[in-house]
Symmetry: D3
Subunit: 237 residues, 6 copies
């Protein structure tokens, strides 16, 4: 039995509220159960230096967590003088994932920065950041299309992410913190709206897993991501 | 005329929503017009090292701002390797102000950290942080009283803050960003619920002001703070 | 009774020795009792980047303290990898205060940096830095006027500062360290030579004060600053 | 055709030379084609603080690259004040992978640090670090067994890693730099000597891949890793 | 001819004023021509950690320079986040030199920190720091002897330092900035009061020198250091 | 007797293997007994900024040590956020020494960076870095000459370095770690192939030495350096 009483393949309730930050070109508050992430998209007219003159755009991401998003207060990264390795790993993943759903030629020489700030954490914050970050990105790009700055839509597909893992010997989807902290094998899956894979990260802390288990975890992820992209569509209506 | 159409002595609408962060011992989301700050209180059973063995407690604060809380995206302090001088100045002010409303003997050897994270900024974020931070502190202390950990209430009075300044030659209260960025003289006032002063910071960037203007600004602040403490009381009911 | 035996409204002996650093465009050693600060002014022909093309000049300040300026050795900030929040707060105050006495159009596109290094500390170092820093600034501007680089004097008035506070229940001026470390309420006042206010910072560490006490502290400050501007005038003769 | 002329499933020549660092408890120089990594294992009698009193041991890793390991000189991380996000991500991966092959109870309360320093880089440095790091670890543990410090072997299986990816539309194993910098999809696979998975990281920079391609890449990895564990065995004889 | 008009073997005027910092256990202001350094000695009752339980004492040094000690303002190290390599090299030299004149058994388990802060620079600041630092050390140790904390004098000899170099083809002593910035070969010599060598640092920036020149430079240094130790003796009377 | 059984004036076996790093313009692995340093030279077509437009070239150096180059593992500088004072001191010495053997006009406006990474340490790593660094530099310059980029050879002489010191009362050359850690007086000597001095650094940690001892140490160094330049010549054949 899962601590939350969910079935093995049952996702947490998903809610995506758009337009929550008045200054951002796109924004949403995504809630996956008790994991809440504020996502915003900021457009800059200039691309990063390494893309000057290439005609290509860029999508990048930054990730943060409020000190008391967690059960016990964690130290503010700004007071520690640097982002942790974990934070950097997560924000690189978010940026890479979102870029896979963007036609960078159609975007043109501009940069969109997705900020994902975890307001409340209960497992799966990186996946919620990708799913919500895509909505913020979609809204910002809509603005560019509406303003006529862009004439061709650079977004080629939905991008969403979910975690799967082996908890107490069972294969489960969308792990909450209670499951995540105990799981032997733990994976994050990023997929498009049409079911293609963008990123697979499976890791067995002090354990191992079989090829068969791997395939079943991808099955679980595929079903979960279909629910997430449906929620994205609903929120954007 | 003020850009917002308010009267000279008119505050922005105040809203204080409590219990917004499930892990924190106390929390609220304070909205002063378009300035929104998430405040949480975290209790630690141990005081900071310099108070070990003194019987005294401590209240401290940290302040942050989401990158896209502002009109143009500002760089995340965690990626810059340090908190700015402005951030440090603000969080020292918040901590000092809240301590003035606390009986540190009654609090006993423990520390309460108030995190104030600006979700959206439109001027007056440090004042909103103090007013909202006090509510989070009050809620956390209530928990200690309810649990019987504390038997005597260490909170001696309300603490709230408001800005006043000289904008376009007029003395105004509760400046928004449009006013704040143009004001010649600019002040922050922290007061108790019974009208005593805790902190006065008046500053004339490239200008000066008279003693008479100073007195009138304190009058404005006094009235504004009465409204804020009323809002605190209402939120805690 | 004050630890030093001074009357409540009695300033410490003030001495300002000019021309003490052969390389600086302006310099002085200011002594307020046992607080000694070395102040220098350095002229740069270029303004900071944010003022390029505006026709405006800039005055900024940096503050430091020798490790053994204090009773027990304090750690050198250069070895700690950063300036403390307190140092940054002080140097921002000094810069802001001095700019209030300068016509930045008349100064033209150049920057003057005031370095204030505390050689010996006995309370009131930020006030001594402002009062001495103004003398260094005056001397540097004199050089520009004598050289014909400037034809109109950008300095519009004296700027000086003094502390006041409530020590042992009494309102006193120009607190030394023994008083400062015990005072419940503590304020720093920056004023012009003609008695206008530039900056008021009053703070009650763990206490509060009334509006009436506030007014009396400003009275004390006003008288003290008159003595300080007289000393500035004498030093510049 | 691959730039190196290799078949799609052809690994680069592997060479593992042991005992190359006289001070280390275990060491080897692993060469996978032109990628050369110096691996050492250092035993500390104390575990990290978070394991004190648990009876468990720890294996951790650090990764570095000489400035001129690459075609153009890259800046030394020590002069940049921090390890890059990429470096941290890699060394976390190496540590996690090696721990999956260790019985931490049998290791007891001690720590083994694996240093992987890339002397020359031509793609696949993190995989070579894991494969070579395991040999260094094996040698260090052998010393503990020979000395009688350990009586039960804490190493439960071989650990080795290889990259696979989609280069020019073809699925290939063990990518060199020329392939790696062009590949649309790129993966790193860590497996045990008995073919169980420890870590799968597949990433499509600006592209996507199908579940079928994913399965074929794992097939390639499995065959490659069998060659690598054979090379480990040969080196240890 | 030397820019200052001095003879080849002529030192600059030396002045050592003691007792200039009221809080320090020992202090002096040393002036070697236009090079002025403020030196203080601070006694701590505990030795650094690596000496706990050894019975040995420690003498260490820190070096700094006011931003406007030089002809053009140099950036404050505290704002740059670290001490430069040059600063660290100098303070290690000062500490090492002074320790050579101290019996660390007689000093016992305590630490004396010598702070050398350059108020005005005109070449030879590290040598002036050593010569003046020794006087501050001597005064601090005298206090320990007078108080009976020490019964045996741990100072075994004078320590002083001078620079020598080859300027415009001539071998000269005690180089000022005009000479130092042009000299092909440049050396710093630290010696005891009885003429034994403690440290020799000779360096030819982009040039070379012969063994015969080396010997002559040591002759010059020996004579100069005799003058410096005489000045130390005079100052301590 | 020396711990290694060598005679007082006997160098350790020297081996210099060239061309060990395929990407570098010049490289070698120098072995002085058990001290092994990997040296590479990287050519950049642009000089550092302070030399733009002067027609002069630059040679600089960076120094590092693998964590397990030493008997007990030392912390990686990249994880400590900065290079130690010792590292900076050493790399400044290497750069300065190599520049003394180069005609910077003939080199023209380009920069050559010498990286010296200690693979294994047993005393004398800075000297081995200079001797090996010169070989890497020589090879890189040869490439520029062969390519016709340079028509005149900017290298004017060999540069090599050796340590000498007083160990157990005896004057010895080329100290290994066992000697170095015990020596009272310790010196590093950098010389040209024709016997001219470039750098002399003699230091007596807690001791002193006489002028006569100094002269004998230079004699020892001179003989040792002749052996080193012979080894350089042999390696380059």
């Amino acid at each position: 039995m899962r601590p939350s009483g969910r079935n093995l393949s049952q996702m947490r309730p998903i809610s995506i509220e758009t337009g929550v930050m008045r200054h951002a070109e796109g924004s949403c508050l995504i809630r996956c159960g008790n994991t809440h992430v504020l996502c915003s998209a900021s457009i800059e007219d200039n691309p990063p230096r390494f893309l000057k003159g290439t005609g290509l755009g860029w999508v990048t991401a930054e990730y943060g967590m409020l000190p008391r998003a967690t059960n016990t207060r964690n130290r503010r990264e700004a007071t520690q003088g640097k982002q942790s390795g974990r934070t950097q790993e997560i924000q690189r993943l978010i940026g890479r994932s979102l870029r896979a759903g963007v036609d960078r030629v159609a975007l043109g020489e501009r940069q969109i920065t997705i900020d994902c700030d975890v307001i409340q954490a209960d497992g799966g914050t990186r996946c919620a950041s990708i799913t919500g970050g895509w909505v913020a990105l979609r809204l910002a790009v809509n603005k560019l299309l509406e303003a006529g700055t862009l004439t061709r839509d650079p977004i080629v597909d939905h991008v969403a992410a979910v975690s799967c893992g082996i908890y107490a010997g069972q294969l489960v989807v969308d792990l909450d913190y209670a499951e995540d902290s105990e799981a032997g094998t733990d994976g994050n899956f990023v997929m498009t709206g049409t079911g293609r894979l963008i990123e697979v990260q499976m890791s067995a802390e002090g354990a191992t897993f079989s090829r068969d288990e791997m395939a079943q975890l991808v099955d679980l992820a595929e079903a979960g991501i279909a629910e997430l992209t449906a929620a994205q569509r609903a929120a954007l209506k």
